[in-house]
Amino acid sequence: MIEFRSVSKRFPDGTIAVEDFSLELPSRRTTVLVGSSGSGKTTLLRMINRMVDPTSGTIEIDGEDIARVAPVPLRRRIGYVLQNSGLLPHRKVVDNITTVPLLEGVSKRDARARALELLDTVGLDRGLADRYPSQLSGGQQQRVGVARALAVDPNIMLMDEPFGAVDPIVRADLQQELIRIQRQVAKTIVFVTHDIDEAFLLGDQVVILEQRARIAQVGSPAEILANPASDFVADFIGADRGRRALRAVHTDGRTVLIDRDGRAAGVLLEGEPGE
């Protein structure tokens, strides 16, 4: 579990990125921080691996105050995926994945074997192992980024708009892959995005942020959709417009959901999902 306690961050130039932020991020679940630019969501993420240190307040990982942990070892046990994959362009795919395990003293052979397994996990052909990142497509690079983050088998994975720079089709694909991988590995994922659809798709817990990381609402996607806490949230999630605004129409004893253009979006079923 990651816990923020009254965390604030004021940058040297006087900008306040985060003001009195408190939140629990449950283990083995995906928490999505969503907000527009200036909401401090990336700053929050970067505080977890001490890329940024808070001005005040504490952050704990499983009860341990991370201010007492040296940044380098801390970062090595936390996976990190960046927007543009952040792969080292001068290292082959396999070397990118084995970077941190090798720094941690894992033998070269074991690290390579594990890297090849991870390529399977993220749905990449093992034949790509000896390519350089620039020889891969954007989507493939992102998958390698995820594989690299998983390489030390971290409890926590930080993902900073990892799918923000790929085209919509690849993004949808990567999102589904992440859901599949998360089902398999069950990490504590902290995911930053400005895309509310992505947040609702991936998040077990969604945190909607206003400026300076003020929490507008925390909850499951269903809770937030059912009961937006404020006009800001309602507006941000587009609860009453677009493809989320569905109207129930009763036809032949069933409830059909109609979108605002009058097209049928689906049928309303009762009961739990998966039944």
Binding site: M51, Y80, Q83, P89, V100, Y132, S134, R148
Partner: protein
């Protein structure tokens, strides 16, 4: 032409000597300019200072430096060490800016990502930043190599034998072929060193050869700061 056939041994000997004198300043100059270039790259304050100083150093005429160094360092005028130090200074003067530019050319996202996955600052410098600065460093090193090979000839004025000997000797004795031979061999050595550096670059910077091709295929995306 007769002179050349009669003196092939001398030309060969001087060429080898020339090469031997050229290599240490190039290598030493590179090693010394890495920390200096880093200093110029890393801090605004030191940037102006280091780069201006390096620029000024290069403007000192080489003969003047050969005369100035011995009393300053307490070494003999007529020593190889004198030449070695002077040429290293020129190499540093040229190379420092290349190191600074090379380090600045590293994609900040890559630098940050290396930090984020747990590179310590030292390790990041040597295994991420320095290699990625490679292409710029190589370009600088090629200039340094050619410049050094040419400057070694001046050492003949303080008695250090190199192909420069053919210039002074040929001039004194009025043998044009000797002078031309000196020039040609100097150029040949410069070209050989340059070729070796390009080859070295291909060996240690293998990813740079893919870039041009790959960039065309994959659109470059820019980061949107959150």
């Amino acid at each position: 032409m007769n002179w050349l056939w009669n003196n092939l041994d001398l030309v060969l000997e001087l060429s080898v000597e020339h090469l031997r004198l050229s290599l240490p300043p190039i290598i030493l100059g590179f090693i010394v300019s890495v920390p200096l270039g880093w200093l110029a790259y890393r801090y605004k304050l030191t940037r102006g200072l280091v780069l201006t100083l390096a620029g000024l150093l290069y403007t000192i005429p080489s003969l003047a430096l050969f005369v100035l160094l011995p009393p300053l360092l307490g070494i003999s005028f007529l020593s190889e060490l004198n030449v070695l130090i002077a040429l290293t200074i020129y190499a540093v003067a040229l190379m420092t800016r290349s190191v600074a530019d090379g380090l600045a050319s590293v994609d900040p996202i890559v630098r940050e990502s290396a930090t984020a996955v747990g590179y310590s600052p030292w390790r990041r410098f040597f295994s991420v930043e320095l290699p990625l600065a490679g292409p710029v460093l190589l370009a600088g090193l090629r200039v340094v190599a050619v410049s050094t090979v040419s400057l070694v000839t001046v050492g003949v004025f303080v008695g250090v034998r190199s192909l420069g000997f053919l210039f002074t000797n040929g001039l004194q004795r009025g043998i044009i072929v000797e002078i031309v031979t000196g020039i040609v061999m100097t150029v040949v050595i410069a070209l050989i060193l340059d070729g070796l550096l390009v080859l070295l670059g291909r060996l240690v910077l293998p990813w740079t050869r893919l870039d041009a091709r790959a960039r065309r295929r994959i659109p470059v995306t820019t980061a949107v700061p959150a």
